[in-house]
């Protein structure tokens, strides 16, 4: 019996491990890179095409026309509505995430131009508590939708998330309907949304705004499952298909419009903005 619903996982990056490989070592082919080398190639492995994670600020640099990005709502910070304490207090985890990432939360929003076209950006950062969605992420996403609607420009959402932020309890689940309603308001205002899913986009983020783009694309190899492979395997005891939950599988099953390799992403976004940029 499956009383245990562990459908939200991969919420945290792997714990520090002394024996772990260097973060710039390709997990697929073992190639090793210097930081500047990898950045110069958009953090894509030159040998095998593996897409390394991209932090939100770097993603914005990759996509936005130079100097065009203006961040919004940067000062929003989560509080601790439940006084949540597991092995450590939530507030301590938040503070630590802010220090280690330099970000106030797991999503950065703002206005930019891409290929000369205006848009609103909402970019997630997996390094901030596994890109989990609590009230601030939900609020920032809603503000991004409102900003796009107000300006009559499309919204470009780039996700990387393990799902809802457990430490905010049921309020984190409420970010699903909140962000869904925000997308609906955006669409009623006539603005379009492009959803770009990067690795991983799972659970509560997959089951809300990320799946509601007018056009939905993913980066190669991105995990896009509501429930993570480990939990599915434990529950069903089936051998999982090799590409379980990956972008390639999602594309085959009809859930994605395209898989866009990172070097082509800026052009793709610019094309999307040319087609969907006009609001009546």
């Amino acid at each position: 019996m499956a009383k245990i619903d562990v459908s939200i996982e991969h919420k945290h990056p792997p714990e520090p491990d002394d024996g772990k490989p260097h973060p710039n070592t390709c997990p697929k082919c073992g190639s090793h890179y210097r930081d500047d080398e990898l950045d110069a190639h958009l953090r894509v492995c030159l040998h095998c095409g593996h897409h390394f994670p991209v932090r939100a600020p770097a993603r914005i640099r990759q996509l936005a026309d130079p100097g065009s990005f203006v961040e919004e709502a940067a000062d929003l910070r989560s509080d601790d509505p439940l006084d949540f304490f597991d092995l450590r207090p939530y507030v301590e985890r938040l503070a630590e995430a802010e220090v280690s990432t330099g970000l106030g939360e797991a999503m950065v929003i703002g206005r930019a131009t891409i290929g000369g076209r205006s848009c609103q950006l909402a970019v997630m950062d997996f390094a901030f508590m596994g890109g989990s969605m609590g009230r601030v992420v939900g609020e920032k996403f809603a503000l991004a939708c409102e900003g796009a609607a107000d300006q009559g420009v499309p919204l470009v959402s780039i996700t990387a998330s393990g799902g809802a932020r457990m430490q905010e309890g049921i309020l984190s689940l409420m970010q699903l309907p909140k962000t869904v309603c925000a997308v609906e308001e955006l669409q009623d205002a006539g603005s379009a949304m492009l959803s770009v899913m990067s690795h991983p986009t799972t659970a509560g983020v997959l089951a809300s705004f990320a799946s509601l783009g007018d056009v939905i694309v993913a980066e190669p190899g991105a995990l896009m499952s509501f429930t993570g492979p480990r939990v599915v395997q434990q529950t069903t005891r089936e051998k999982l298909p090799e590409d379980f939950g990956l972008a390639e599988s999602n594309y085959r099953f009809g859930h994605l419009d395209a898989i866009v390799p990172r070097p082509e992403l800026k052009d793709f976004v610019a094309k999307f903005l040319r087609l969907f940029g006009h609001v009546e």
Binding site: R135, M166, Q175, F253
Partner: protein, 314 residues
Amino acid sequence: MSSEAELRLRERLSKLSRMRLLGGTRLSGELKRLQEQLERVTAEPTGEEIWEKVELARNEDRPYTLDYVERLIEDWIELHGDRGRADDSALVTGVGRFRGRTVALIGNQKGRDVKERTRRNFGMAYPEGYRKAMRVMELAQRHRFPIISLVDIPGAYPGVAAEQHGQGGAIARSQAVMSRLEVPIVACVIGEGGSGGAIATALADQVLMQENAIYTVISPEGCAAILWRDAGEKKKAAAAFRPDAVHCLELGVIDGIVPEPEGGAQLNHDEAARLLGASLEAALEELEGLPGDELKRLRRAKFRAIGSVRTAAR
């Protein structure tokens, strides 16, 4: 008890007292029980008390959706199939008459015996179930039928096929459809309101919970496995996020609590149905006066505001 904790409790009590709608209690005249309920709230529940709620919510003798349909709905026509690939019996949909009006009803359905439990996948819908629900919601919209949604799902189903068939997208789109409807929607968590599987059918104008229901972003076991790295710590997890109805009401996540018979709904299905029926009727009556576009606007505004950080921040 520290004065700070006492303060918080008083605040909580006052919030509760201000609540516009406290289930069917107000209507069925059971003011005494309300008072008792409020008194119980003044004491911070212990971990054990919270865990009791979890176990009551999961009690296998609790009335399920079809038990309520049988007692509350006349001229019931169950609607089957997603018009694409399958009929998912974990999520029941249909139309019928509730207190004089035609309604569409959606509800997770667990099974009573092993065979039915398997057939109904323990109430955990596949994407096909959410698609059936969306189809029936659109039917309701076409004919201006109010919608009743009964939520009772341990969580979205962790299976290979569910993922392949697009569980994440189906849950997202089911919410999107609900946010677009211009008919009254009342949801009630009647057992477990687990994660995305629950919210898929709970984006309602009024969200109620039965007294012993729970509403969670993840099961206590799942939370414990991740945060405590030990599923055995489920009671600690439950105590940390408090999935009970009173707490959900305090947080503004739900709009009212539906009382249950003394000891829990499992002890008296008829009485549980009577109490639920009174709450659903009251909620519908409150909503039915509003024009459709206003309903939609208020529904979206409500979810926009839940747990808002606008003021808390900066």
